[in-house]
Amino acid sequence: MHRLNNISKKIRKKIIYLSYKAKTAHLASSLSCVDLMVTIYEDFLKFNKKKISKNIFILSKGHAAMALYSILNYKKIISNTVFESYSKVGSILEEHPTHNIPSVSVATGSLGHGLSVGCGMALSFKLKRLKKKIYVLLSDGECNEGSVWEAFLFAAANKLNNLVVIIDYNKWQATGRTDKILKLGNLKKKLESFGFAAHEIDGHNFAQIKKNLKKTSKSKPLAVIANTVKGKGVSFMEDDNNWHYRSPDKKDYLRAIKEIDNLK
């Protein structure tokens, strides 16, 4: 777990660097799902020597693109040059991910798309009798989209037990508390009633993330509701929704990096 924690620290620093350099939004949304994504990329996707993974990850909450790019750079799937080109003219790294990026299968950014495509891929693996799994990361705000619930119904009806849905439940969406906008209520019970095997975890606890992502079912898709903190890892960003759109200035940047370096 120490290993994953160290990687997460590196990823967080890369994300803050990108937002600082390019002055782009969605910093806090990217920080909340780092620990989830690091665990998935390190321990669940199973990369071969050619950097092609056996299992598939879809970042349905495409606005956390900086987290994705930082991990892809850490995994050397995208070079430092490409990483540095983020958000510049001619770069494949736009502010939302596209299929033009190595290893990225779905262009996301408009919410509520990734899960349906993921279900289609999960169904494909079943039809081809491949023992491949698909991990789809959604945001809690994204669960406002009706298409997400259509996909939940489809996944359960078609017994897609090779599908793992992870919800980055940071309790915020763009303009306010998810609870105050469209209350999700008891999400675990909702998902269970939709036919999922659902588990609620601390989305920053590597042991819990690993243990729950490993769970399998004979006939049910898996949902992991990860309670997270938006802006996690930087004290002055944590649970402050201003950092949904704000990007750090030099002072913020240096302070944030120092804080992460000092984290255990």
Partner: protein
């Protein structure tokens, strides 16, 4: 046309094991044979078109040839963003089949009319837009669409449309299909309105007006070579069961504009830019909006009369 679709897809699926049929809770019994042959390749996705479209994208990404099927407005506008982002953006080979083109389901009301789908589908990059005119063209369109490495939208009618073509026509997506030859006028008939176009052709012939009739089954990409030549004729008539906004007629006007062709030779017969209600059957609806052969021919003859009055005009 939908029976032809079911029959064709069942027959194609015997050889092509990559075909997967996704339906939005319609086609009860229509696909019984398909299901019998392909037990694990038919999925009723329920009344959830947005998800069905995303599922198709996921299947296509993994090498399958998915076909989504439901009533036209629900398989186009209802899931438009999924078509745009999940299918067209990565240029995935999904075939979207909408049944109920134009006013096929007139009596079901404006919720089931489809007078805007050509405009909206052709606005999306990468997708082909195909409107077969009879059951034979449906068969060919689906077969050809499955050969293309990108997305295709196929707009079909309902059932009972007359068969115009012989079985072994030469059909190519992006090329017009000529039905009758003629030298002065050309009728470009779009999809399910073919019966009306044939009537127009017949009446014009009886009036000694030499008229060509073609099936303009592909609206995107347009048959540019044909269009370049057809405007050498004296009049070009486009007949479509679609709104005047953005349909085949509009596509031809865009073509004329970008190729410096005089578009005043073009007459477009289409539906008005409004919601239609209390229209009754498809036949009654067509009558109400002027998409009947008598009305169309009357207008064509009036235009000819006006053109012939012009001294500089090469008289008919």
């Amino acid at each position: 046309m939908r029976n032809s679709f079911a029959k064709s897809i069942t027959s194609l699926s015997k050889k092509n094991k990559k075909i997967i049929l996704l339906a939005g809770d319609i086609g009860n019994k229509l696909f019984d044979n398909f299901k019998k042959i392909n037990k694990d390749r038919f999925f009723n996705c329920g009344v959830a078109e947005a998800n069905m479209t995303g599922i198709a994208a996921g299947l296509a990404k993994e090498g399958f040839r998915p076909i989504t099927y439901t009533i036209t407005p629900f398989n186009t506008l209802r899931c438009l963003e999924q078509i745009k982002i999940d299918i067209c953006y990565p240029n995935l080979p999904v075939v979207i089949v909408g049944t109920g083109a134009g006013l096929s389901y007139s009596a079901l009301g404006a919720t089931h009319h489809s007078l805007d789908d050509i405009a909206i589908m052709r606005a999306l990059p990468n997708i082909n837009v195909v409107c077969p005119s009879d059951p034979v063209e449906v068969k060919h369109a689906i077969k050809e669409a499955l050969k293309i490495k990108g997305p295709t939208y196929i707009r079909i009618g309902k059932k009972g449309e007359p068969t115009v073509n012989s079985e072994n026509i030469k059909f190519k997506i992006g090329k017009i299909h000529k039905i009758k030859s003629g030298k002065d006028i050309s009728i470009l008939s779009v999809g399910n309105i073919m019966r009306v176009s044939i009537e127009c052709h017949k009446i014009l012939k009886e009036n000694n007006i030499s008229t060509e009739l073609v099936s303009l089954h592909t609206i995107k990409p347009l048959d540019k070579n044909y269009l370049r030549n057809v405007f050498k004729k004296k009049l070009v008539i486009c007949i479509e069961e679609h709104s005047i906004v953005g349909g085949a007629g509009s596509a031809i006007l865009e073509f004329c504009n970008s190729n410096s062709i005089d578009s005043s030779k073009l007459m477009i017969f289409s539906a008005p830019d409004k919601f239609l209600s209390k229209t009754g059957s498809q036949e009654q609806a067509r009558k109400k909006i002027g998409l009947k052969s008598q009305n169309i021919v009357k207008k064509i003859k009036y235009k000819i009369k006006k053109l012939n009055a012009n001294k500089n005009w090469n008289r008919f």
